[in-house]
């Protein structure tokens, strides 16, 4: 038997897991340095291996690229089918890019149980990349569920004082959502099988299938939607997020905010919209109402947080609200904006968590009231922190602006009033971030401990500079990123539109969906 050659996506997906296995078996737990370097090198190697995805990706092609297919459970129609399009390629690269930074940020923060930490983070990377590249519902679900456990360990073993509560809450929330998704996956599988005679979990095949609008489609949409909405998190399912963020170690928060939340929005984009177009259109107004509530609510709650990390956590609720808004406008601008905003949020919020972690390592507190006047003591840190805050609040010229602008362009075409309210969210973002920044960096030095703070170390520079480069790059020349995703987004919208109208032509005459 000859084994098929290992494709690029398989390599990117499983290299971290392989590294975790080697670390598990070969590196004794007392060799902290070897564990750290080992983990970092594996994640850097994964990033290096993933770079051809960027270079060789054909932006003009809307279809899946780098596809691989292997029969896995042929009796059931389960295959190992992976591939990326213009939407997922950016998220895969975001994952492989953020992971080395997260591991490097934990150089001194994780002193105990380094081995568990490295293994969990690398397995997590395999799970996350797997979710983004899976083109088979079974495979997707395997990665989606399997990824929970390493994150559970990262929060629960290495987190703060209340870590067990946060970890269990995170897992239970996610499991309830995904349990119903499993039922919907099975239901879709049998509906498709009964209608066409082909029983398969293959996503492209299922996507071509036109599911009749009605109760079944709505229930499946809601089951998938609940799983994804919990992950995003969409208001009012966000309550696990602040707990998980506050308790997780910095590296965990970076990955949680940077990548894990995107799995929810990605899920809506990849599964809910194309598989259940009618229900997506029907429930669109409901979703973007929740998204707008989330934008405003997240921003307002952020404003009053005394704790830096909690503030950033709630700001995620607001930012992800923008992504959800963009998705359900079902306009090209809104969708492209949403994809870019996913990347932006990963970078900006990832960087915010990194910097909050850095200041926490120095002062062992995250309370805003404990700081003040940092600009005078640690100017380099304060300057970079300012740039990251400005990126997060959407200053033109930096990355955040691009995504939010496109999303709002899309939103205005759908509902002017909701868009107006969402725009207010940007103003609130300026309020909570700048007010926080002012209290942290400017003013008098009120606490003696702050006078002795040291500025960024070379390691911290090395962690932050790559993020800042991308923040400016996307802000100044977004086309490099939007061009990758545009063709796929157009194809997705066309597909949703045609399926919805095919289904509706037999039932209801009016399709509310069009390329506005």
């Amino acid at each position: 038997m000859t084994l098929p050659p290992i494709g690029l996506l398989t390599a990117v997906t499983f290299l971290p897991a392989l590294g975790a296995l080697v670390i598990l078996l070969a590196v004794p737990r007392r060799h902290d340095a070897a564990l750290r370097w080992g983990g970092l090198l594996v994640s850097l190697a994964t990033f290096a291996v993933s770079l051809p995805l960027w270079a060789q990706f054909d932006a003009g092609d809307a279809d899946m690229q780098f596809e691989e297919f292997l029969r896995w459970m042929p009796g059931l129609g389960v295959g190992y089918h992976v591939g990326v399009d213009g939407i997922s390629v950016l998220l895969v690269l975001l994952t492989t890019f953020l992971m080395p930074l997260a591991l490097a940020s934990a150089w001194h923060a994780i002193e105990d149980r380094t081995k568990e930490f490295m293994i969990a983070m690398l397995l997590l990377e395999t799970g996350m990349v797997g979710v983004f590249v899976s083109l088979d519902l079974f495979l997707f679900f395997v990665f989606w569920e399997a990824m929970l456990i390493p994150m559970y360990f990262v929060i629960g073993v290495l987190g703060g004082a209340n870590r067990v509560y946060a970890a269990v809450k995170f897992v239970l929330y996610t499991m309830v959502g995904s349990a119903l998704m499993l039922v919907a996956i099975l239901a879709l599988y049998y509906q498709h099988g009964a209608a066409t005679g082909t029983y398969t979990f293959d996503l492209p095949t299922l996507t071509r299938f036109v599911l009749a609008p009605g109760r079944a489609q709505t229930l499946m949409f809601l089951a998938f939607g609940l799983a994804f909405a919990i992950k995003v998190p969409l208001f009012p399912l966000h309550t696990w997020l602040p707990d998980a963020h506050v308790e997780a170690p910095t590296a965990g928060s970076v990955i949680l905010a940077g990548v894990l939340l995107k799995m929810g929005t990605y899920g809506f984009l990849r599964f809910c919209l194309p598989l259940f177009p009618d229900a997506s259109v029907d429930y669109g107004p409901f979703v973007y109402a929740l998204a707008v509530i989330g934008i405003v609510y997240g921003a307002l709650v952020s404003t009053v947080q005394p704790d830096l990390k909690k503030l950033v956590a709630y700001s995620s609720v607001s930012h992800l609200g923008f992504v959800m808004l963009g998705l359900f406008t079902l306009t090209p601008q809104g969708l492209v904006g949403a994809v870019i905003q996913m990347v932006n949020h990963g970078l900006s919020t990832g960087a915010l968590f990194l910097m909050v972690g850095m200041i926490y390592e120095r002062r062992h507190t995250r309370l805003i009231s404990e700081f003040g006047g940092l600009w005078a003591v640690i100017p380099a840190f304060s300057a970079l922190f300012l740039i990251v805050c400005l990126s997060s609040l959407g200053l033109p010229g930096l990355n955040g602006f691009v995504g939010e602008f496109l999303i709002l362009v899309g939103a205005f075409q759908v509902d002017k009033w909701l868009a107006a309210v969402a725009t207010a969210g940007i103003i609130f973002a300026a309020v909570y971030l700048l007010w926080m920044y002012q209290r942290v960096a400017f003013g008098e030095i009120r606490h003696e401990a702050n006078r002795r703070l040291s500025d960024l170390t070379p390691r911290e520079w090395a962690v932050l500079v790559p993020v800042l480069v991308l923040i400016v790059w996307i802000g100044v020349y977004p086309k490099a990123f939007t061009s990758k995703t545009e063709a796929s987004v157009q194809a997705l919208i066309a597909q949703v539109e045609s399926k919805a109208s095919v289904a509706r032509s037999t039932t209801a005459p009016v399709s509310r969906l069009s390329l506005r």
Binding site: M73, A146, I149, G156, V157
Partner: protein
């Protein structure tokens, strides 16, 4: 003069091998040396031999009907032979050091374990209600004694007594059910019952018989509301025996139950599927909810095993080849996982006895990372986290239920799995996220136990990553039921 029926002992080959090994153990027990180490080896050899015989018979594709169709050695029976032999072999491997540690080494232990296994094998190949009864009695009577092996411990005696009394009571129901079915159909043979029941559907006598039969089986598989014995027996019995009760005896009872329902009482499917729908719903929910409140690991696993019975009943309700095949696969996955979990618990010991309170496991990951990771894997498989056996098992089960249209039962099932995650993960929380508590807990070195756990780990990973060959095996096995 009635001609003597042909005696085809070949149809009982695996059961006879195990029985012979049991008799041999009894004999060897009387001879020197005084130590009993070698008896475990003899018992293991007997089981492995029976397993090899089953594999040989499977490969030969035999479909033997012997003793006037009372014993059926088809692939369905052989599939369960694999599961039962595996469970018994694991129990023996776990017993060898465990018995010596607790000072209860004896030849009778292995003999009884083998006799009980013989009963289980007989159940798997039963083609007649009387053989079902024989098998259940042989299996249960041996297990009643085994549960009381720790003569000096109150809990063990209580377990044995309770198991015996309630078991005898349930057997009464079973026998009564058999009598009524015989009265209604004129036979105890599955095929002849099927023919008679098909001719007279909705017969009152038959329906009552079916109900009583289900009570008896409900006790043996510990489904709600006949589960009351399980937590006490699981807790009080020696852990190696608990592992066998939770896996082998359950698999054997399911083997007979599935065959009785889908072959003999196929005509009554509308009746029993409604009944089992409710039983499945109540069983999985009650099992999981009560398990949350347990702090004793053996009790928790007892309630968890009740919940798993509920999941398997979902597959039975779904019916057809897909449903039955899913139950078979699940039993295989469940046996590997549960036997492994009990095995891992058995290897941890406090200075004053067994370590069974969840607090005893606090900080286990620091003291013994390998054992903690192993137990963690079993628990994650019980939760149903991919890519482990438990996940694929649930996937097949719930898949068959959705296919048959039982969507709401499936929704209840998956929500139950989410509830279950809480109490399984709590053990992991203790092992990994708590610091060691005051009690001194040590790991018992046991080569045989290590082998048993290694086999179980390989099993759950293999079933999780490459399930297709095993699922195909299960599908081949259920073919005799649905033709």
């Amino acid at each position: 003069m009635i001609p003597a029926p042909p005696i085809a002992l070949g149809a009982l080959l695996p059961a006879l091998i195990v029985f012979g090994a049991g008799a041999l153990v009894l004999l060897l027990d009387l001879l020197p040396p005084r130590t009993k180490d070698h008896l475990g080896g003899v018992a293991l050899a007997g089981i492995v031999l029976a397993l090899l015989a089953s594999v040989w018979l499977w490969a030969g594709g035999t479909d033997v009907r012997a003793f006037r169709d009372m014993v059926l050695l088809d692939r369905y029976a052989l599939f369960f032979h694999f599961v039962i032999c595996y469970a018994a072999a694991l129990a023996v491997l776990l017993s060898i050091d465990y018995l010596r540690r607790n000072g209860v080494e004896s030849g009778e232990y292995y003999a009884l374990l083998l006799f009980s296994t013989t009963g289980m094998l007989l159940l798997a190949s039963a083609g007649d209600l009387l053989v079902v009864f024989l098998g259940i009695e042989l299996m249960s009577l041996s297990l009643y004694v085994l549960a009381g092996l720790f003569k000096m411990r109150l809990a063990s005696g209580e377990a044995s007594m309770k198991y015996f009394l309630l078991g005898a009571f349930a057997t009464g129901f079973l026998l009564y059910g058999i009598a009524l079915i015989y009265g209604a159909t004129g036979s105890t043979n599955f095929d002849r019952i099927a023919a008679a029941a098909g001719a007279r559907p909705r017969d009152t006598l038959l329906t009552i018989g079916l109900g009583l039969l289900l009570v008896g089986f409900g006790f043996k598989i510990s489904s709600v509301p006949f589960h009351m014995w399980a937590p006490d027996v699981y807790e009080g019995a020696p852990t190696s025996v608990t592992a066998l009760i939770a896996t082998g005896s359950k698999a054997a009872a399911f083997a007979a139950l599935i065959r009785v329902l889908t072959v003999a009482l196929r005509a009554a499917q509308p009746d029993w599927s409604v009944l089992l729908w409710a039983v499945a719903a109540v069983t999985m929910t009650a099992g999981n909810v009560i398990a949350i409140a347990q702090s004793n690991l053996k009790r928790m696993l007892a309630y968890s095993s009740i919940a798993h019975v509920g999941y398997m009943l979902v597959g039975l309700v779904a019916g057809g080849a897909a449903g039955a095949g899913a139950v078979l696969f699940y039993l295989l996955a469940y046996t590997f996982t549960t036997a492994g979990a009990f095995g891992a618990i058995l290897l941890v010991e406090r200075s004053d006895g067994e370590a069974v309170e969840v607090g005893d496991y606090a900080g286990l990951a620091r003291r013994n990372p390998v054992l903690a990771a192993t137990l963690g894997l079993f628990l994650l498989s019980l939760v149903g986290i991919p890519p482990l056996a438990g996940f694929v098992g649930k996937f097949y089960l719930f898949g068959s239920a959705v296919r048959a249209g039982y969507v709401w039962l499936t929704v209840l099932g998956v929500l139950n799995s989410a509830i279950a995650a809480y109490y399984y993960l709590r053990v992991i929380v203790y092992m990994y996220m708590h610091e060691p508590e005051g009690v001194e807990v040590r790991l018992v070195p046991s080569f045989a136990g290590g082998i048993a756990l290694a086999i179980a780990v390989v099993g759950i990973v293999l079933l999780g990553v490459m399930p297709a060959p095993f699922a195909d095996l299960a599908q081949v096995a259920v073919a005799p039921l649905v033709r």
